[in-house]
């Protein structure tokens, strides 16, 4: 029963949000505001029940584990107090105190990330660009595998260097550097093209996911949705055709308003 009601509500809300495609409308506004409210309450629960309660209160004040012995660890007053200080942001008069907590977190992060980032984002990436490293699995392989691998390793190397040269700001892009940077921008364009193509894929997938929910997962509520949707789409197309006849041809869209 809960699932039946849930399905109808979920499908209704899904359609309300999709109505944004026509234009910004009260249904969309309603669903959007409901979403923000519910999501924020969810965050409150999460912060309280899985972090503040077990990690702070459960360590300093109250024993939450009936099977275990309890020894309060007063060191954890430090993050608790700093966390409360962080909340002084809500009070403009003493807002500046929150900087201590912020400095604690930001300073910690600044020091912490340098080593790992250097290791994994920089050193390892440079290492994997050396042709010798990339050719390791192919040493002693037959020429039919060796030669393409070698060509790929060299191309990869050239691409990495040219992109780096493109993002080099101390020299004008002229002469050799200009030529290299030119190759670099082509490489970047191929990379962005790949990213573009697959981003398109992602956006479509999201709609497919919702469509699948409406058509297949909404079983408890019957196949009403499939029928309703097909009818709705037909109406939309007929409306478009009629609109074409009635509209003056020069008028442009006010899309996505």
């Amino acid at each position: 029963m809960a699932a039946f009601i849930g399905t109808w509500i979920a499908a209704g809300l899904t359609l309300m949000i999709l109505s944004f495609l026509y234009k910004d409308n009260p249904f969309f506004r309603f669903a959007e505001h409901l979403y923000v409210g519910v999501a924020n309450a969810y965050i409150v629960w999460l912060v309280w029940a899985t972090i503040v309660l077990p990690d702070f209160i459960g360590r300093v004040f109250v024993n939450l584990d009936p099977n275990g012995a309890f020894t309060p660890d007063y060191w954890f007053l430090i993050p608790g107090i700093l966390g409360l200080i962080m909340l002084t942001r809500m009070v403009p008069a003493i807002e500046w105190m929150s900087r201590w907590a912020l400095a604690f977190v930001v300073g910690w992060g600044a020091g912490f990330v340098i080593g790992p980032v250097l290791n994994s984002y920089l050193l390892a990436q440079v290492y994997a660009s050396f042709p010798w490293v990339n050719m390791q699995p192919y040493l002693g392989a037959p020429a039919a595998e060796y030669v393409p691998a070698l060509i790929n390793a060299i191309i990869l190397f050239i691409c990495v260097v040219t992109v780096l040269v493109y993002f080099f700001f101390s020299y004008e892009h002229k002469g050799v550097i200009g030529g290299t940077a030119k190759i670099g921008i082509w490489v970047l364009m191929v990379a962005f093209g790949a990213s573009f193509g697959s981003t398109v894929m992602a956006r479509i997938s999201l709609f497919i996911g919702r469509a699948r929910f409406l058509v297949q997962d909404a079983e408890p509520a019957g196949h009403a949705f499939s029928i309703l949707l097909t009818l709705g789409l037909l109406i939309a197309i007929i409306a478009a055709v009629i609109a074409r006849r009635s509209l003056p041809p020069a008028e442009e869209s006010d899309s996505a308003e």
Partner: protein, 237 residues
């Protein structure tokens, strides 16, 4: 007062930043012990910071209702949604699952039971998922009217994009499945071209970007530690 407002945060950031930077190179247990503890500290502080966003959103909408600004009815929806979810979280609405004892009765998804979970799954999830699915339609209309090969760069980009779009779906790979598996002609198969494109030029392009990102992160971190960068503290004094 100025010290507390201006210098103290810089000092805190400097001490903590330098300490965590240095212990990265020290494997000894006493140092790592302090390091581990600090990690838990910053997580707890971060949790409190998450509440700040909620305060500002709720505050904004309560003001809107009080001043009866246009569209304040929607703000009521938001507040009611918030209250409903908070109430749903109260334990007596949910039945603890068979055979388990819920030690923290006022928290948890209760293993997929209860009203809280119901609201999560039937209201929060579908709406958040649908929000971005709208983009599928905009991509279609943008494909028609704004993805133009205006410059040489944009042309290269579009060609790469079309190859990836076709090479990443079964229909596209089926179009070239009549080509032989191996050899030169094999490398012209859609999935092979896509794979090469992704693995060689694409990987190299993003590697160049990642190297820049890494340098950027390190540079920002160094500036924060040494007090050159103070923007994170916000404006004013």
């Amino acid at each position: 007062m100025t010290f507390l407002r201006r210098q103290l945060p810089v000092v805190i950031a400097f001490v903590l930043g330098l300490f965590t930077l240095v212990i990265f190179y020290i494997p000894a247990a006493p140092m790592q012990g302090i390091g581990d503890r600090l990690k838990i500290f910053v997580t707890i502080i971060g949790a409190f910071a998450m509440l700040l966003g909620i305060n500002s959103i709720l505050g904004q909408h309560i003001t809107k209702i009080r001043k009866k600004r246009p569209g304040y009815g929607y703000s009521w929806v938001l507040i009611l949604g918030f209250i409903a979810m908070m109430v749903a979280w109260i334990p007596w609405w949910s039945v603890p699952p068979e055979g388990t004892t819920v030690y923290y009765p006022w928290g948890g998804l209760e293993n997929n039971q209860g009203v809280f979970y119901w609201m999560f799954f039937w209201i929060l999830v579908p709406m958040q998922a649908t929000m971005f699915s709208i983009l599928a339609f905009y991509i279609a209309s943008a494909a028609y009217r704004s993805f133009r090969a205006k410059t040489m760069e944009a042309t290269v980009l579009l060609i790469a994009a079309v190859i990836v779009m076709l090479g990443r779906v079964p229909l596209g790979t089926s179009m070239t499945s009549w080509l032989p598996d191996t050899g030169f002609w094999g490398s012209l198969r859609m999935e092979e071209m896509t794979s090469w494109l992704l693995n060689i030029p694409n990987a190299a392009g993003f590697r160049g970007i990642v190297l820049g990102v890494a340098l950027g992160i390190i540079a920002t971190s160094v500036r924060i530690i040494f007090g050159v960068e103070k923007t994170y503290m916000g404006g004013g004094d």
